[in-house]
Amino acid sequence: MEKDIKLVVSSSPHILNYESTKSIMWTVSIFLLPATIFGVYAFGIYAAFIVLASILTSITTEVIILTIRKKAICIDDGSAFLTGLLVAMNMPPSVPLYIPIISSIFAIAIVKHAFGGLGQNWANPAVAARVFALFAWTKEMTTWSTPFITDSVTTATPLGASKVALVENFGIGHITSATASSGGVSASGPLEILRLVSPDVLKTDVTYFKLFFGLKAGCIGEISIFLLLIAAIYLIYRKIITLEVPFFFLGTIALSAWIFDGLKYGQGFYAGDPLFHLLTGGAVLGAFFCATDMVTTPLTVAGRIIFGIGAGLITILVRMFGGLPEGVSLAILFMNMLTPAIDRFIKITPLGYIKPKKG
């Protein structure tokens, strides 16, 4: 009997978890698609070109660089696809196509491969690329288009023309500048300010509901908080993303917004609007999908908690005082760079290493 079979001899363990780098990358990619498709649906077909351009450029760059570095071409691991997708999701819906293309090349060639490729990069490629684009083409990267504008042309869609007016100038940066320009106007919070800024907006109501379901301007992939949360819940259940970073990231944003953000509207402490800060900008996309990138976040639970709190604080600082439209990517990038230091600082001691108390 033993002659017929060939037995494999190898080191234990002999069974492995079904989750692999590849399955993780592809699962995340697939679960990000609904939010992306929603973005395309909201902003029109041009957004789809942005997405395609980013993904194709990422993959092509990956292939070229792997060839140059004489490494096995392993684009089937999904990491280049995911990077491209994330770059696109962090783009405003009407940027000229060269921006996502150059950003994707930057993400793969500089951020990922200049430091040794998968597993070695010092920052999340997509986040770094977004920050890079933000500084290189600030104007294009902060020009927003209104969702469902194409629909409103033929006023027959159920979403209707009312929504067209909803989100004009709805980027966070615009709120900050709006606060400045609206001088003496007093409003108790960001929603009111919005209604005051634009006469169009006054006609309708900016509600949490609309913010949550994505009826607002923003980057292609970040507007539908609803779809992003569904994906996040599944990925947390699959243990692909861990809860520490998003929880403390968003928690810090909410808490500090609640404590400090009211000051801007002359309401004093503890009068901010945490929900508004969570539902706008890239907070949810960033916290669940960019700040949970395995390579560039700390190894330990304690480290990830520090990462989350740090990123939350930086985000809120930028949102409140910075000149930039959005702080999420900047915050993640900054914490990415602190990650090696956090990992060096937080060590785990072997079980029973410190003398335990006598039982």
């Binding site: 002999h14 976040t297 190894l299 001691t349």
Partner: protein, 445 residues
């Protein structure tokens, strides 16, 4: 059961595949015509052969005797004639001298019904001697000599006895079946052990995927014994001594100490029953229950097997192998050893023979890149950082690896199991340990 005890937040949850055999009662396997009995079946020095070729032996006769205190007697599993000695690979992947016995003569123990004698009057010394002479070892796989474990050094006192019924390795069900099919013997065994160590707390820790065993033992213990049955959450590696102690008593055994230093003695279910047989029935350890299982076995079973039976005979008795078998494992899939062929004899430490198919057994990536996900750190119940150890060993920074606790790695495999990059971490750590040991030795000179 919402708040079952467990050892902490680490550990992993592999698919357990217990359903293949957990409903199957223990059957006696065929007696082998030729038994191959290795002299290394335990931790410690090999036993010394005391028989000659051509000599007739009885079932249960001593054929190799313990060399020193940390060594174990080996007995003939069958009546017969010594026909030779040979070198053979044993289950742990090394060679051992093997005593070859051809079946001949009459069984004195097998098939006989034993009468229970009242063990309550047995002295501590008598019990220890009986255990030592019968060659009982830790049957969970560690094969540490039981008489050594139970000989508590002067000045130390164990206040807690834990019987390990966790069986946290996937596939294996021999202890599960023993707890069900031989519950009384198990409880007797526990009482006998406790006559030696006299602990006030006696626990049997069972993972809650064995609800039937928990219930049966609970109802048997009620009003009768002071043994407490502790249901535990299902998690690997809970069967490790130190993890089990932490789960049940909350005590943490220091890395360089033994459980007894924390006042705890842990014994496995199979060993406990072997102790009863040794003490009450005067039956040496010549057979054990082995789970023959895996998706590559036609008809998985729990068999009571004579030591020295070849793996191929057992597989044949279970209907043979399916065509897509990739690996044969002796022991559990997490810590067991893959076999080169089916000619390996069953020894005292073999709790299971598992045939894994292509689907069950994925390959490691030899050039895998760590993606720093930290999953291995969360998995390691021993508080190590496998990804960091891996990095150090790869870069030949052995001293740093040692400082980070490389030697405390139990090779439990949890980190390798969870690693999405499929890095063969355990293999790397074993290699790293070997090299580090050599380095330490060469430095010492």
């Amino acid at each position: 059961m919402l708040f079952e005890k467990t050892f902490g937040s680490n550990g992993v949850h592999p698919e357990d595949y217990k359903y293949l055999t957990c409903q199957k009662k223990i059957e006696s396997a065929y007696v082998p015509n030729i038994a191959y009995v290795p002299i290394i079946q335990h931790i410690g020095s090999p036993a010394k052969i005391i028989v000659e070729i051509g000599q007739k032996v009885e079932e249960g006769q001593l054929i190799a005797s313990a060399e020193g205190f940390v060594s174990v007697n080996v007995h003939s599993p069958i009546p017969g004639k010594i026909v030779g000695f040979e070198e053979r690979y044993i289950s742990i992947g090394r060679k051992s001298k093997v005593i070859v016995i051809e079946l001949d003569g009459e069984f004195k123990k097998t098939g006989k019904t034993f009468t229970n004698v009242d063990y309550n009057n047995f002295s501590k010394e008598y019990i220890l001697k009986a255990i030592r002479e019968s060659g009982v070892v830790g049957l969970g796989g560690a094969t540490f000599p039981t008489h050594v474990k139970l000989s508590i050094p002067d000045g130390k006192k164990a206040d807690t006895l834990i019987i390990n019924g966790t069986e946290c390795e996937p596939f294996i069900t021999c202890d599960h079946r023993l707890m069900l099919d031989r519950s009384e013997d198990l409880l007797d065994g526990v009482n006998i052990i406790n006559k030696v160590i006299d602990a006030q707390n006696v626990y049997i820790g069972i993972e809650s995927n064995k609800k039937d065993a928990i219930q049966k033992l609970k109802s048997l213990c009620k009003n009768k014994y002071k043994i407490k049955i502790i249901p535990l959450a299902v998690k690997y590696p809970q069967g490790d001594e130190k993890q089990l102690i932490k789960a049940i008593t909350g005590r943490v055994v220091p890395v360089d100490k033994l459980p007894v230093d924390c006042g705890v003695v842990v014994l496995n279910v199979s060993s406990t029953i072997a102790i009863k047989e040794a003490v009450v029935y005067e039956k040496p350890l010549i057979d054990r229950v082995v789970t023959i299982t895996g998706n590559g076995i036609v008809n998985p079973k729990n068999l009571k097997v004579k030591i020295g039976t070849l793996v191929k005979d057992l597989i044949e008795e279970c209907g043979g192998l399916k065509p897509n078998v990739k690996k044969i494992i002796i022991g559990g899939p997490m810590m067991g050893f893959s076999q080169m062929n089916l000619e390996t004899p069953i020894t005292k430490g073999c709790s299971a023979v598992i045939a894994l198919t292509d689907e069950d057994s994925k390959d490691f990536e030899q050039n895998a890149i760590c993606i720093s996900c930290g999953k291995c750190i969360n998995a390691c119940a021993f508080g190590l950082m496998p990804t960091i150890l891996n990095k150090y060993i790869k870069n030949k920074l052995y001293e740093k690896a040692l400082d980070s606790g490389l030697m405390f790695c139990k090779e439990c495999g949890a980190c390798s199991w969870v690693c999405p990059a499929r890095i063969p971490l355990v293999q790397i750590f074993r290699m790293g340990k070997d090299i580090s040991k050599k380095l330490i030795l060469s430095k010492g000179k």
